[in-house]
Structures are given as structure tokens and as C-alpha cells.
């Protein structure tokens, strides 16, 4: 029977190592080591200052553990049977599981029995990692196969000391809880009891310090009522260590009986020591069950997760990529149309703008030549016209760039709002050639002195003749002062009229020249702006196509890799699921075997179920 037991444990240990849980493995190995020696391991637990160490001392009738009014026990003490008293202090010395492995890496120091626990406590007070006292005594109780473990007190339900105490319970066959008579069971103690009773069925409560509390019987019955109410099957035995010690000193058997320890020892023997084998088996079953449970929980969780998982994100990504690809194609087609429309609008607008500007310039030139004499102010006019045309060209081209910038931004945004900035950068182009703004001066006929003389003479002829003929009527010669004066007046008038007429002619020809020049300018310049617009349109179109092409390539590549991942993932999952199911199957079978053996063990007697 025992052999089958140990083989079960071995299998569980193997499983722990295989599942990468060396901590559990160490624990089981430690337990196996203990079980192999056939001892009954009893852990003494309790809150601080409940008299745990005193209880151990009184059980053994020897001052083994250091006791005091203040917090004394800091390190656990393991007390076993030994033919001669011997003690050593075992410290982990930095190795994580040194204390559990029971015989390797730990550092051991021999020490006198009387001061062993005191020394272990002072070592534990320092910061030197886990430490315990290992004591061997030739006491009759221990000779029956009992191992007692004295532990530091528990501080509160969630403190690390509670966790440490509970981990001791896993390595124990039975738990003896010390709770003193000065107060009823506290919340911490009840919490501890509830937790322990699910882990280890063999629990007994030593109700200590009954020597100092006059009304301890009231407290005891209150405690028993509370335990019954919570359904915790634990025997409560009232004891007094002080009385037991006094009895031992004086050899008074009646007093010893009063101490309650005889009853406690009898219960220990009848309930625990006589059923050591069953308790061993059951506690090991509990521990193995716990370990297997801890092994299978993550496996079960992983299995559920694996079954539920369907590469969800990857598949979603893949679908999203497909959608995005379609979108890119659709958009780039639409954007090309929009671009063509926009540029057509833009070209017509720009042309109209230039036409409007030149028209205004011409209007002002006309107004100017209504007054000015082109002959005198042509150079001034030429400078003005050049400047104005240059300014108009400049404004027009700037407007064109701005409009184009807007168009580029619009289509870029339509194509991909995220990359809009990058896309909207216009390609660089050659600067436009400076427009030829030199204005040719029209040929003005000169109105020189000879011409003036000729016109004067021609004009004076009429006046001279008209007045000379009239004056002949009064017998004056044809040429007389009067006719000469009239001739002179007519001559001067004719010169003046001729000059005005000539000015009109010059103005007209200047206007025509300006008109011709501006027309020429408009023709050349509008051709150039149109060319520029087309150039830009082409550049932008190419840019967009290039981008779309690149984006399509990227998306296709990513979609491909995602698809590959999905395929690999699904294959891996199927494989993992098979592995997990197999591992769980193995653990569950082992667990079932453990349970069946443990059920055999508890069929023997109703251990610890008496209250």
C-alpha cells in the first residue's frame, strides 16, 4: 500500500518537473522524504502570544522552546525523536528551496539543545533568509513517531506570517492550534481555522492559559458554540502549561491531571498517533491533490483560451487590409477625375484673371493718353506699363500657385487624410521666363520749323487774299498792312490747328501701340500659365498614381504576411490543444488515483470529526 503511495507521489513530482513548477516539486519531494520516515508531523499554529511554544514545552515536559512575555518565536522549530539530545540550526543560506529539500544546499550549525530555539530566533531576527531549529530529543511522545513543529505567531488574516503558516500546513499531517482563554476566538483565528479545515482534516485546538482566567469555562463554551456554528470539526481541549510545568517540578499527579495535558495527550494518541499511517496518506493526498490542482489550473485555463481563440485579431486585420486595398483603388480613380475637373476650372479662372488685369491696365493707358503727349512722356509711360504688366503677371502666377496648392491639398485629403501633408507637396518646376515687356515706340512724324513755316504760309495765304481783295474796294493795294496782318493771323491759326491735329494723331497711334503690346503680352503669358498648369497637373497626377501604387503594394504585402501568420497560428493551436488535452488527461487520471487512495485512508476511522 505504502509503496503504491510513494509511486503516486513520484509520478506527481515528475509531472511538476515536466510542467516547470520546481517549487511544487520541491515541496512534494520534501514531503516524500518525510513520509518515507513514517513520522506523524504535527504543526502548532496560532496567533501571537497564545502560548504555542509553552504548549510544545508542556507536551514534551521539557523546556525545549524559548518562551517569554514578548514576541519570542521568530523561527520555526522542528522537534523529532532522537536517542540523544541534539540540535542544529538550519538556514537556507540564499537557496530558494533549501529548507524544503531537507538535506541539500542548506547550511547546518550544531548547537546545544537548551539554547537552540533562542539562537534560531536571534538569527531569524536578522535579515538572513529562512531559518529553523532542528531538535532531536529522546522524549516518549516523540518516540511514538510524532514530530512537533513550533511556528512564529500569526499577525492577521492577510499578513505574510499567515501565508507562511498555511504553507507549513501543507507539509503537516495534523494541526494543533493554540488559542488562549483570555479572549474568545478572534476573526483571525476563525479565518485560519476555516482555511485549514478545508486543507487538513486533522485539527485540534489547545485552549491554553486556563490557569489565569477565572471564567475560562464561559469562553470555552462560547468558542465551541462558534465552531459548531461555522461547521468546523475541531476538538477543543482546555490545558494549562503553567500547571503542567508546576506538576512536573513537584511530581504532583493530581496537579498534572488538572493541567488538562493528560487529556490532550490521550486525544493525540487515540486520534492521531494510532492512525498515523492514515493521516500520512491523507495529508500526502491533500498535498498531492493541491499540487496537481495547481498544475492543472493553468493548463485548463490555457485550454479554454486556446479553444476560444480564433486568431481573432489577425483575421480581422486581414479583412481590414482587403477593405483598405479596395478603398485605395476606388479613391485614386475618383481623385484623378476630380483633379482634371479642378485644373480645368482653375485654368479658365486664371485666364480670366489675367484678361481682367490687362484690361484694367489698358483702360488706364487710354485714360493717360487722352491727356498726355506720347512724344514727350513715352519713356515714362513705357516704365509704368512694364511695371504694371510685371505686377499683373506676378499676381496672376501667385494666384495660380495658391489655387493649385489648394487643389493639391483637396485631392490629397480625398486620397488619404493621414498622408495629406506629404501628398500635397507640389513638385518643383522651372521658373517662368520673364515676360517680354519692352514696348516698341510708334514712329511719330515730326512737326519741324520748315513744316510750321509751310503750314503758316499756307494758312496766311487765304487771310491775305481775303482782306487784300476787300481792301481793293477802297482803293487800297492788295498788299497793305491790313491784309498782311490778316495773313499773319490766319497763318498762326493754321499752325496751331495743325499742331493739335498732330497731337491727336500721335495719341491715337500711342494707344494702338499700347493695345498691341498688351495683347501680345496677354497671348504669350496666358500660354505660359496654361502650360505651367498642365505641367503641375501632370506632376500631381503622377505623384498620386505613384503613391497609390506604392500603398497598394504595401497593403498587399502585409495582407500576405498576416495570412501566413493566421495559417501558422491555427496549426500551432491545433497542436497545442492536442498537447494540453493529453497533459490534462494524465493529471486528471493521477488525481483520480490519489483521490481513490485518500478515500481508502479515511474510510478507516472518523478522524478529528468528534467535537
Amino acid at each position: 500500500m505504502t509503496a503504491s503511495w510513494l509511486s503516486l507521489l513520484d509520478e506527481a513530482i515528475k509531472e511538476c518537473t515536466a510542467r516547470d513548477r520546481p517549487d511544487l516539486g520541491w515541496r512534494l519531494r520534501h514531503r516524500r522524504h518525510q513520509l518515507g520516515r513514517g513520522k506523524l508531523r504535527v504543526v502548532v499554529l496560532g496567533e501571537r502570544g497564545q502560548g504555542k511554544s509553552q504548549l510544545v514545552n508542556a507536551l514534551l515536559n521539557a523546556p525545549v522552546c524559548a518562551v517569554g512575555d514578548e514576541l519570542t518565536t521568530r523561527a520555526p522549530a522542528v522537534i523529532e525523536h532522537n536517542a540523544t539530545p541534539a540540535a542544529e540550526i538550519v538556514s537556507a543560506g540564499g537557496h530558494a528551496h533549501a529548507l524544503e529539500s531537507a538535506n541539500r544546499a542548506a547550511e547546518r550549525t550544531e548547537t546545544p539543545v537548551e539554547s537552540a530555539t533562542a539562537r534560531a530566533n536571534s538569527v531569524a531576527r536578522g535579515d538572513s533568509g529562512p531559518v529553523r531549529a532542528q531538535i532531536g530529543l529522546p522524549a516518549p511522545l516523540l518516540a511514538d513517531g510524532l514530530t512537533l513543529v513550533d511556528t512564529p505567531g500569526i499577525a492577521g488574516p492577510d499578513s505574510p506570517s499567515t501565508a507562511a503558516a498555511l504553507s507549513e500546513v501543507f507539509a503537516a499531517d495534523a494541526v494543533l492550534i493554540a488559542s488562549d482563554a483570555t479572549a474568545e476566538l478572534s476573526e483571525t483565528e476563525l479565518d485560519l481555522l476555516t482555511r485549514i479545515s478545508t486543507m487538513c482534516a486533522a485539527v485540534m485546538i489547545a485552549f491554553t492559559k486556563i490557569d489565569i482566567v477565572p471564567r475560562w469555562r464561559d469562553v470555552l463554551s462560547a468558542d465551541r458554540a462558534r465552531l459548531a456554528q461555522l461547521g468546523i470539526p475541531a476538538t477543543v481541549v482546555p490545558v494549562s502549561a503553567a500547571v503542567r510545568m508546576a506538576a512536573a517540578r513537584s511530581g504532583d499527579t493530581v496537579l498534572n491531571g488538572d493541567s488538562g495535558f493528560e487529556t490532550l495527550l490521550a486525544r493525540l494518541r487515540s486520534d492521531w498517533i494510532n492512525h498515523a499511517e492514515q493521516l500520512n496518506r491523507r495529508s500526502a493526498a491533500t498535498l498531492t491533490g493541491m499540487a496537481l490542482e495547481q498544475l492543472s489550473t493553468p493548463l485548463r485555463e490555457e485550454l479554454t483560451a486556446t479553444r476560444q481563440a480564433d486568431s481573432g485579431p489577425a483575421v480581422a486585420r486581414w479583412r481590414a487590409l482587403g477593405r483598405e486595398l479596395e478603398e485605395v483603388q476606388r479613391r485614386s480613380a475618383r481623385v484623378q477625375t476630380v483633379l482634371a475637373d479642378e485644373v480645368a476650372d482653375l485654368t479658365s479662372d486664371v485666364e480670366y484673371d489675367l484678361r481682367d488685369r490687362t484690361r484694367q491696365i489698358l483702360q488706364r493707358a487710354d485714360e493717360y493718353f487722352d491727356e498726355a503727349d506720347p512724344e514727350k512722356s513715352w519713356h515714362e509711360f513705357e516704365a509704368w506699363l512694364t511695371d504694371n504688366l510685371a505686377a499683373a503677371a506676378d499676381a496672376n502666377i501667385t494666384w495660380l500657385w495658391e489655387r493649385f496648392d489648394g487643389v493639391a491639398g483637396k485631392v490629397a485629403h480625398m486620397l488619404s487624410p493621414a498622408d495629406a501633408e506629404l501628398l500635397a507637396t507640389l513638385p518643383a518646376t522651372e521658373p517662368l521666363p520673364e515676360p517680354d515687356t519692352r514696348v516698341r515706340m510708334p514712329a511719330f512724324e515730326r512737326f519741324g520749323a520748315a513744316a510750321k513755316l509751310f503750314v503758316g504760309i499756307r494758312g496766311s495765304y487765304g487771310g491775305l487774299l481775303m482782306v487784300g481783295l476787300a481792301s481793293t474796294l477802297v482803293d487800297m493795294p492788295l498788299i497793305n498792312p491790313l491784309s498782311i496782318a490778316a495773313g499773319a493771323a490766319f497763318g498762326i491759326k493754321a499752325v496751331f490747328e495743325e499742331r493739335a491735329a498732330r497731337l491727336k494723331r500721335r495719341q491715337a497711334s500711342a494707344k494702338t501701340a499700347a493695345q498691341r503690346h498688351v495683347d501680345g503680352f496677354f497671348l504669350t503669358y496666358s500660354k505660359e500659365t496654361k502650360d505651367l498648369a498642365r505641367l503641375l497637373q501632370r506632376a500631381l497626377r503622377d505623384h498620386i498614381s505613384e503613391w497609390s501604387e506604392q500603398r497598394r503594394a504595401e497593403l498587399t504585402a502585409e495582407a500576405k504576411s498576416v495570412k501566413e501568420t493566421i495559417d501558422a497560428d491555427s496549426a500551432r493551436r491545433t497542436r497545442r490543444e492536442r498537447e494540453l488535452t493529453a497533459a490534462l488527461q494524465r493529471i486528471n487520471t493521477l488525481h483520480a488515483r490519489v483521490r481513490s487512495v485518500s478515500a481508502d485512508a479515511s474510510r478507516g476511522s472518523p478522524l478529528g470529526l468528534t467535537a
Binding site: 496567533e47 501571537r48 502570544g49 512575555d69 514578548e70 514576541l71 505567531g153 499577525a155 492577521g156 483570555t182 479572549a183 478572534s186 476573526e187 483571525t188 492559559k209 486556563i210 490557569d211 489565569i212 482566567v213 477565572p214 471564567r215 475560562w216 494549562s240 503553567a242 500547571v243 508546576a246 513537584s250 496537579l255 488538572d258
Partner: protein
Amino acid sequence: MNLPERTAHLVHRALRRYHDHAEANALLGRQLARFDEPLRLAVVGPGRSGKSTLVNALVGAQVAPLESGGTAVPCWYRAGSPPRVTLYPAGAPPREYPAERAERGLATDLGDLPGTEAQHAAVDWPSRSLQELTVLDAPAAGDHASEQRLTAHTADADAALCLVPDPHRATTASTAPLRELHQHPIAAAAPVHTLTVLSRADELGACRVDALISARQIARKYRHTAGAGELSQDTIAVAALAGEAARTIDDTEFGALTALASVPKDDLATQLISVDRFADAELRSPVAPGMRHALLLRFGLFGLRLATTLIRQGATTMPTLAAQIAQRSGISDLREAIRQHFVDRAGVLKARAALIVLDKLLRSVPNAGARELHDELDSIVAGAHELAELRLLSGLATGRVTLPDELGDEAARLAGANGTRAAARLNLDRDYPPGSPPYREALFGALWRWRAYAESPVLDNAQRHAARLVVRSCEELAR
């Protein structure tokens, strides 16, 4: 003006502001009345921590608990004659109950009162100890509902004793009252109104005759416990049961104790080995079994061991025995601590309590002038050197603040540890008038020296802070 005067002045102003608000008026009136009454001390702690026992030990008679239908009624014990019980039910006029002086204490019958939750009582009791103290036997702390009741009942208290039955068991029930008492920001900023009492010191030392020595050791460590001991002015170990017995011992009991002490020492030690053995009817003892059982309940094992030892050592009269038990049970230490930390500073503590009540009122009942009053309240609290001084004294006494050599003693003296009068602070042989040369010499000598300490690079930050507080104390004297 000192803190009590400034506080009273502020309460008067608040009274004028709230003259049309009846409830606020009554509340403020109570705060003013507070200054003319004895210090109000609440005894709080978890259930079965020995609150009533300690109240009895302080009052010097078995007056607590005041029970009705098996439940304890929260009760104030105040000086007054003849004995009288007044019950204050919630929302009903107070009722008086007949009471009389019984053998060791109060005898009264409240009957079975309905709805004990929302009521409290006051007991008038002729006792010299109550002349300077009014004591509250507070409801047990622990669960949430009782915490609210506790707050309601301790709101009237100037100071409190927080009972911790077992310092090893860090249960929430044992520290909850202390945290509750420091919940208000003013209370949290100046934790000067509580003393922690390890109320079952005898059990900490297994009821040995020297149990108090161990218990005092544990108390010394408990003073430095964050969140518990550190909030208190001091932590004191008391064997409450023995203390109560010492103060209420009668001739019959003394006779029985004397008879016990006549039993040979070793025999008696064996008889007192456990409560069961001592109460055993078969035991050969000069005292009858019934009396032995009664003595056990009254004195406890520790009290009996102590009393018989003391009688054997020569305390052969009842007063000497009572005095020595009081001494050895820690109850004298506690009374001394109450005197030093609370009674001597009653004015400051009352002002502190009144300021908290006023602060709550100004927050909960808005009024046109509330803001201005609140600003002044804040300035009073911020400038309350008396509170900082008390905290310094407790720090020096418990070792939370350490100063080198004799500086600690001098700092404590200047902060008023030996008495708050100028002569005591300055260590003068008699009361010199403030302007006189010896006074000026002592004061300015201290002032200049402590100013130097306050800036000394040799001292650490906490010590320099302490020195600054001492300087401030000296400056108060120089005004």
C-alpha cells in the same frame, strides 16, 4: 491671549452670528460651558477590553457598567451628590431614576429599556476623583455600526483613553477607536488627546507577581507602533482588574486576604497555581470556597498573588495595601499620566475639542459670517503653539524625539513638563515678576541658547524642529 481664551472669544462671536439658529446656539452654549466643567474623559476600546473595570478604577467605586436588559448603556460619570441616574433617550425628555449607594458602588435598576441604541445616561456620583474628571464609559468599538455610535458619544469628550487588551493581536477592533478619534483634520494634525492603555497587563505576564514589569516593556515598544502607539501621547500598562479592586477593597476582603497571606508561602503558591485549584471546594484554606471564588472574580489571579505577597511584605493595613496594589497594578501610573497629559492641560484640550465642534458646525450650517469665522478658526489652529508643545512633551517622554545629554530634560521643563507656570518652566526658586532681573536672566539665557540649537548643524532635522518649538515656548514667556 492663550488658546482657551482665543477659542472662547471665537465661540462668543459664533454665538452672535448664529443667534437665530436654536440648535447651533445650544451646541455653542455647551462649548462655552465646557470651559467651566471638569475635563471630560472617554474610555473607549473593543468589547471585553476592560472599559467598565477601568472606569471603576478611576472613579474609585463600582459604578460601571450601567446595564439595561443585559446591554451596557453609554454613560457619563460626573461629580454630584446625592447619587442619581439620568437617562437621555433620543428625541425624548431626560428621565431620572432612583439610585443609591450600595456596598461598593452604585445600585440602581433601569429595568428593560427599549431602543438602547440611541440613548446615553449620566450618573451623578459623589467621588473626589470626579472633581477634576468626568468619565465616559463608551460603547464597545468593533463593527461599523458601533463606530458611528462611538463617534456620536465621544464628540463631547475632551480626551480619551484607548484600551488595547492584547497588543500582540493587531486586530482592527483594537486600533479602530484610536483612528476614529483622529479622523477630524484638527485632531489628526495635533494628536494630543489620547492615551493608549494596555488594559490587561496582568495577562501579558501570565499573572505573575512581576507581570507589570513585562507589560511595561511591551508598552515601551508599543509607543513606537505606527498608526497606533505613535498617535497617543503615551502608552501605559495597567492591570485594570487589580486596580479596580485596590480602589474598592472592603474590610471583608481585606480580612480574607490577610488570612490567605498567613498560609505558608509555598502552600499558597501551590494553591494559587491555577484558578481552578484555588476555587476548588476541597482545598484546605482559611477562607471559605464561596469567598475564594468571589476574590478570584474581584482581584484576578494576579491581584491575589500580588495582594498576598504585599501583605507578607508588610502592607498590613487596608489603606497601605490598597495604595500598594494601585501602585503595582499600574493604575497610579495611569492617574499620573492623566494628570500630566490631560488635567494639567485641561484648558488646551477643551479648546481643541471646542474648535473641532465649531469647525464641524461652520461646515454643516452655512451662515453669512461663517467664512470669516472659519478663517479665524484656521488661524487659531495654525498658531496653536500649546498643541505643538503637548506633542513635543509626549515625544520627549516616549523617546519618539531624542535630544542629546541633558537637553531633553531642559526642553521638557521649558515646554512645561514640570508645570506650566513661568517659575516651573524656567526652574526659578520662586515666582519672580516677569520684568525682574532673575526672571529676565533665566528666560533670555534659555531663549538665546535654544535659538542656537534650532540652527545647530550638529542636531538632525527632527531635533532642530523640537528646538524651534522650545524657542517658541520661551518667546511666549517673553511676551
